[in-house]
Symmetry: C2
Subunit: 84 residues, 2 copies
């Protein structure tokens, strides 16, 4: 079995309230060297057998159409890893 | 600037309702070759300047203590990328 990992993040130009909240907490804890925090989603699609180019094409389409909201999010990475 | 990326996933042995819901939707759409879907979080910590081993140690501690709930989640990856 293999796993396709799809990373989705809020668009950089948009406000990320959750990220801002975590960043403020870190600042208050004295972590001033952390300039910003952004929070997104990580999807793991487990595929029976090996991942083929057909699977990757499908994953790209699903990432754009179903797993992210193109108005407020970007698909920032799609990669393959062996399922542990 | 550099970015430390921290991936947090639900523990494998726990139910992942969101992942199950997406998987069911994919099955209904005919994507029967996708055996499972799991959904987690991706944190991006932006660091002023280059990431040092001190930053990585701090990121590991923050990942365990603040950014994940050790009872229900695992920190599955911590890596460094250049900030786009």
């Amino acid at each position: 079995m293999s796993t396709i990992i799809i990373d989705v993040m809020p668009k950089r130009e948009l406000l990320d309230p959750a990220g801002k909240a975590v960043h403020r907490a870190l600042q208050q804890d004295g972590h001033s060297d952390i300039a910003a925090v952004r929070i997104g989603k990580r999807f793991e699609l487990t595929i029976d057998g090996d991942v083929t180019e057909v699977h990757l094409e499908k994953a790209r389409a699903l990432a754009d159409d179903l797993l992210s909201n193109g108005v407020i999010e970007d698909v920032v990475a799609i990669r393959v890893e062996d399922t542990p």
